[in-house]
């Protein structure tokens, strides 16, 4: 593998890892606050992509309804991202209010909340399949793709925007969690759930904020996924979502930095499994082994370092 091919794969892995990391952040934030594996999160990512699709096609006037003026496509992209993030944040908060909070307030077993989350995921996916059909949809191209070549490595402007935007968003999230009152409250809740309400921190409001933040990050990932790969489908939440969950666990679930690190690590591994299969001598490593390798990494991590890369072991007290 020469250096330029390596760099080429590295760029692909960075883009792929951005999606994983953005979705994994939602898993990890909800887990940090509620100790709940929000199994519906992968499908929230899917809903985000579809919300983006409908907003973009609406703004572009592809529904027989023409806006009285034409918007420049960069403005459409910005409006799509903002609109999709808002709608999806609303959905995440709505799910929390309708399904999770009543269970939590009744003091139900945590298992029941997990099952409810699983069911919400299945519901979202099949609602989509039922109303919109199983066919893939072409995501409108809002950025004209340009291919640049620097020293044998070629990349599109979309790739650079995806990677840059997600890094900016992750840094912003780190700032929110470290510097703002809401972020401080989130960290406090994951540290001690009993003492936090006693200190006058509104628990439910913080939980709502967590769901809104996590869901809007997933929506951002959804819109960018559509822009980068041009195709969205009803089952995109299953595989990308589950893999993002692996990333969260590998990084140490509950840890923000862990989710980002896990996302990029898994993306590197996956891209390089596929890339190695193309090199003579490694052809037994077919690209169909990608998922097998991803899940094996998860198992190895859980066996030897169950708290993930960044997670600290917690001692159980009697």
């Amino acid at each position: 593998m020469t250096l330029d091919i390596f760099l080429q794969h590295l760029l692909n892995a960075l883009q792929w890892g951005s999606f994983y990391a953005l979705i994994a952040l939602g898993y990890t934030m909800v887990y940090g606050v509620l100790l709940l594996v929000n199994f519906a999160h992968g499908d929230i990512f899917m809903v985000g992509a579809y919300a983006g699709f409908f907003i973009a096609t609406f703004l572009l006037g592809q529904y027989g309804f023409q806006l009285p003026f034409t918007l420049p496509s960069w403005l459409v992209l910005v409006l799509t991202i903002i609109g999709s993030m808002t709608l999806t944040a609303g959905l995440g908060v709505g799910i929390e209010r309708a399904a999770y909070r009543p269970l939590r307030e009744r003091g139900a077993n945590r298992l029941y909340v997990v099952i409810t989350a699983l069911m919400v995921g299945v519901l979202l996916e099949n609602l989509n399949l039922w109303r919109l059909g199983g066919a893939d949809r072409g995501f409108p191209q809002l950025i004209r793709k340009q291919i640049y070549t620097v020293g044998g490595v070629s990349f599109t402007n979309v790739k650079i925007i995806v990677i840059g935007l997600s890094i900016v968003v992750m840094l912003a999230l780190e700032l929110i969690v470290r510097r703002t009152k809401v972020g401080m409250a989130m960290r406090a809740i994951s540290y001690d759930k009993v003492a936090v309400p006693l200190m006058g921190i509104p628990l439910n409001r913080i939980i709502v904020a967590t769901f809104a933040l996590g869901s809007s990050l997933a929506a951002l990932a959804g819109v960018m996924y559509g822009t980068a790969y041009e195709v969205i489908s009803f089952d995109m939440g299953i595989f990308v979502g589950w893999k993002a969950f692996i990333c969260a666990v590998v990084g140490g679930i509950g840890e923000i930095r862990g989710a980002v690190a896990g996302g990029f690590i898994l993306a590197f591994v996956e891209i390089f499994v596929v890339a190695l299969g193309q090199i003579p001598g490694f052809q037994w490593l077919s690209s169909t082994y990608r998922d097998l390798v991803a899940f094996s990494i998860l198992l190895v991590f859980l066996t030897f370092r169950p708290t993930g890369i960044f997670g600290a072991p917690r001692r159980q007290k009697v």
């Binding site: 099952i115 069911m119 299945v122 039922w130 692996i246 859980l302």
Partner: protein
């Protein structure tokens, strides 16, 4: 008379089903639904051991089912049928009658061994991790099968129909239904006896409080591994039976996470820690799936909604942790004739 009431009920059901299908009263569709019900009962009762009685959260039951299905299916095809990959049948078809249940048992053992592989890492760590690991194993099993071209890869594995047809040619009887019946009976007896054994009491102690159980001398790790392996083995049995369904083929898409979800739904619908609840919910749920079949995809909108509403309104499921005999104490005289039941108060949830 009361002493024999339970065996009599079982024999009557057995004779009615088998006789009915032999005489042609039950058409092939009803037989298929009966087969589905039987397989779902085995799956639900076995998963209830881990998710209900032990209070853990295993969500990859379909993966273990797939192991059992492929092992048993490959064995019967290799032994008794002409196949492209395995060549001529190894044994004459007459051997199929005694050896068929043995292939099912081998399939179950294979599934239990995979379960052991899963149990070793996952029970060293915190509770949530079993959910994650079983989920991963479900995908890994599916992905491994898809990568094995010898057994059909993603296209699936065929040939079991030839075995069943050959058995039917020798002696015309609904062989699969007979073995499903035996499988259900064996599963219920095994789980019931396991629960009332010393090891089973340990399982329930772990659900209530793991640390307290350990202090009281329960070997929690061994107990968990044993219960998990038993559960996986029985899932393998269900898979082995499913591999021989009249459709005659199995493919990896039949053992996805959605299948595991179905089994989980049945467990929680019936009630965690109730065998009769699991049986009732498996029967009701399978019938519901068949009734909703005309709705197509919409079926999978109704089912999760149903379960979400149930979680909000009646989270303990149909039976909670009670058995049918706790709800209708008079049944106890018929169903548990040898037990002294006076003054026994079941624990309510």
């Amino acid at each position: 008379m009361r002493r024999y009431s339970l065996p009599l009920i079982i024999i009557a059901l057995f004779v009615l089903t088998i006789g009915g299908s032999w005489l042609g009263i039950l058409d092939s569709y009803i037989q298929l639904v009966l087969l589905y019900i039987g397989i779902n009962v085995i799956l639900t009762v076995s998963l209830n051991l881990v998710n209900g009685y032990m209070g853990e959260f295993s969500c990859g039951h379909a993966g273990f089912m797939a192991v059992g299905a492929y092992v048993a299916g490959i064995l019967t095809v290799w032994l008794f049928a002409e196949d492209k990959v395995f060549g001529a049948p190894v044994l004459p078809i007459g051997w199929a009658f005694p050896l068929f249940p043995i292939t099912l048992v081998i399939g179950s053992i294979a599934a239990a061994l995979v379960g052991l592989l899963v149990a070793i890492p996952s029970f060293r760590t915190r509770g949530d991790y079993l959910a994650i690991i079983t989920l991963a194993v479900n995908y890994m099993v599916k992905s491994s099968i898809e990568n094995m071209e010898v057994i059909g890869g993603p296209r699936g594995f065929v040939g079991m129909k030839r075995v069943m047809n050959a058995m039917g040619d020798v002696l015309d009887a609904p062989w699969l239904l007979i073995w499903t019946f035996v499988g259900i009976f064996a599963t219920i007896v095994i789980i019931r006896n396991f629960i009332s054994s010393t090891l089973g009491k340990g399982v329930e102690a772990i659900r209530e409080d793991e640390i307290a159980a350990e202090i009281m001398g329960v070997n929690t790790r061994r107990t968990k591994v044993a219960a998990f392996m038993l559960s996986c083995g029985l899932a393998g049995l269900a898979g082995g039976l499913f591999a021989h369904w009249p459709g005659g083929y199995i493919n990896p898409l039949m053992f996805t996470f959605l299948r595991s979800t179905e089994v989980m739904v049945m467990v929680y619908l019936g009630g965690m820690g109730s065998i009769t609840g699991s049986i009732i919910s498996a029967i009701l749920f399978t019938l519901l799936l068949e009734l909703l079949r005309p709705l197509g995809v919409f079926k999978w909108v109704v089912i999760p909604l149903l379960l979400i509403v149930m979680m909000l309104r009646r989270p303990q499921g149909i039976m909670g942790s009670r058995e049918l005999t706790d709800v209708f104490p008079r049944l106890r005289a018929f169903l548990q004739p040898d037990k002294e039941v006076e003054g026994y108060a079941p624990a309510s949830d």
